[in-house]
């Protein structure tokens, strides 16, 4: 199945000389949720803005649904919905008016029934005739999602959708994203909340300094790059690490009560068995054992750290 969005050698250098994107290549599959992770200024918003037509690329090409975003902009843009990062809404229009405006702008004839249902899905029905200036931040965020969905797009870009949003609303938003995906919408979201990507994404891309460092299935990425750690809690604090345990590169806690061993779970021999035997042979008593999987956040921090 051909990708719904295909990005080839995309680059962007701003007038100031700042290179925001460097030869980015990425295929996005229909019906998936792709999370683009990256620190502030990594190039996430620039990438989305180029695909949506808000920023001109300096080089490379992008196709959406097999159509070039420059030559066939009418087709590609009608397939795309965008929820921007900032709460960019007017003030003096009603929720209903702004949804009708968005639908018309994208070339769709009025459909009050669809828009009513959309308001219901976004829990905004009771705010239908409220002026935008009287909405809370969370409601404005939902209105922006409604505007992006007003023309029934097949690809939805969410640029930092839960930035500055409280925990409850964030979970509501994730549920909404999952429902959209179930309805067949492809979702690309940028975020620097790792837990967001971990919670809802199918695939994760890490971008930094305008370069796409990696794109992979979320589970595969964690499996491939994730390390495990075994923490051994000793029954008595040790002043120093016994010499016999040196081959395991253990990290000793400052109070001398815990030793941490980092290992690769994919290896046939993880070294755990030998380590535990060595600990006992060294005369140390084990009080407790804990294993921990590396989180996506730690993977992300490592990658960004290595790219610097």
């Amino acid at each position: 199945m051909p990708p719904i969005v295909s990005i080839a050698n995309l680059s962007k250098t701003y007038d100031t000389g700042y290179q925001a994107l460097k030869q980015v290549n990425l295929d996005i599959h229909a019906g998936e949720i792709l999370a683009l992770l990256g620190p502030n200024g990594a190039g996430k918003t620039t990438l989305i803005s180029i695909i949506c037509g808000i920023v001109n690329a300096s080089g490379g090409s992008v196709t959406v649904g097999g159509h070039d975003i420059v030559k066939d902009y009418r087709i590609t843009r009608s397939l795309i919905g965008l929820v921007p990062q900032e709460l960019t809404l007017g003030a003096f229009e009603t929720v209903w008016h702004t949804l009708c405006f968005s639908r018309g702008l994208f070339g769709k004839k009025p459909d009050p029934r669809y828009l009513d249902q959309l308001l219901k899905d976004l829990s905004l029905s009771d705010k239908k005739h409220t002026l935008l200036m009287f909405l809370s931040g969370g409601m404005k965020r939902r209105v922006l999602i409604g505007k992006a969905l007003a023309h029934q797009p097949t690809v939805l870009f969410l640029d930092e959708p839960t930035a500055g949003v409280d925990v409850e609303l964030r979970k509501d938003m994730w549920a909404l994203v999952r429902r959209l995906r179930e309805s067949g919408v492809t979702i690309i979201l940028t975020t620097h909340y790792i837990e967001e990507a971990e919670a809802i994404a199918d695939r994760v891309g890490v971008i930094d300094h305008g370069e796409l460092l990696v794109v992979d299935d979320k589970q595969a990425l964690m499996h491939k790059l994730g390390k495990r750690q075994l923490t051994i809690e000793l029954d008595s604090a040790q002043a120093s690490l016994p010499a016999a345990l040196t081959p395991w590169n253990l990290e000793m806690s400052t109070d001398g009560g815990r030793m941490t061993y980092t290992y690769d779970p994919l290896k046939a021999n993880t070294g755990i068995d030998a380590l535990l035997q060595a600990v006992r042979a060294a005369g140390l008593g084990i009080k407790d054992l804990q294993t921990k999987k590396t989180s996506l956040e730690e993977i992300f921090v490592n990658m960004v750290h290595q790219s610097k």
Partner: protein
């Protein structure tokens, strides 16, 4: 053609005008009525006819032009500057809409508002001075072309301006002086010969002259030249807007 997009942009802009109707329509009418009271009745009653036309009537086309130019620029520049300022322009830029369709929506609405104001002023003038329009079709042609071309010019200012000060600077420091010195209140034949030559470099002279000719068959320059000048101005503005969108100047970074 994305008819729905044109319609929602046009409706939104017109709705904004109705919501602020006191500012959009009443204000220019009141200020123009004051001009008639001061220049037309109070001072004008002591001035003999100009080119065979009573002074009160003579200034009607100039006053209309003053309102048309300032209102066209103000309406169109604000119409595009405000979404840029608030950031909501992202939606227009990401929509499946061509430059021509954006212009028809924004500039069309601004020009419509100016035309309504122009016609209201014309009706208001009828209460103060006797009016006779010798060439109504030419009058409408000049009215429409002026509203469209200066709305287009205002749209360019709105695209160019980075802040509210820049939005005001060209209308205040360039357009208003050009209109006042372009023969709104006098015939350029009343100026000393040297100034008559200098005045011919003011493009507004041609607009007012052509417009006045359609009322009274009195003109400072030929009506064909007036028409040509406004068409050249229109073509220049269209080219500039096309270039701004093509390059993304101050729009697409």
């Amino acid at each position: 053609m994305n008819i729905y997009a044109i319609r929602v942009i046009y409706q939104q802009e017109m709705l904004r005008a109705w919501k602020t109707s006191a500012q959009s329509f009443a204000s220019p009418v009141i200020s123009t009525a004051l001009y008639f009271v001061v220049f037309g009745s109070a001072i004008g009653s002591r001035i003999a006819t100009v080119e065979g036309v009573s002074y009160g009537s003579f200034i009607v086309p100039g006053l209309m032009m003053l309102a048309l130019l300032t209102q066209s620029i103000a309406n169109a520049s604000f119409g595009i500057f405000f979404p840029k300022f608030t950031g909501t322009i992202y939606e227009v830029l990401s929509a499946p809409i061509s430059v021509a369709e954006i212009l028809i929506g924004y500039v069309g609405a601004a020009a419509t508002k100016s035309m309504i104001i122009g016609l209201i002023i014309l009706g208001t003038a009828g209460f103060f001075v006797p009016l006779h329009i010798a060439h109504p079709l030419w009058m409408l042609l000049f009215l429409v072309l002026t509203c469209i071309s200066f709305s287009l010019f205002g749209f360019i200012i709105g695209l160019w301006a980075k802040d509210f000060e820049k939005l005001q600077i060209i209308p205040m420091l360039v357009i208003t002086p050009l209109v006042f010195l372009g023969g709104s209140f006098y015939s350029i034949n009343m100026l000393p010969p040297a100034w008559q030559v200098v005045t011919l470099f003011n493009p507004v002279v041609y607009l007012i002259s052509g417009f006045r000719w359609s009322f009274f068959e009195v003109a400072d320059v030929s009506v064909e030249l007036s028409l040509a000048i406004i068409l050249v101005f229109l073509a220049t503005c269209l080219t500039l807007v096309w270039w701004m969108f093509k390059t993304g100047y101050r729009l697409k970074q």
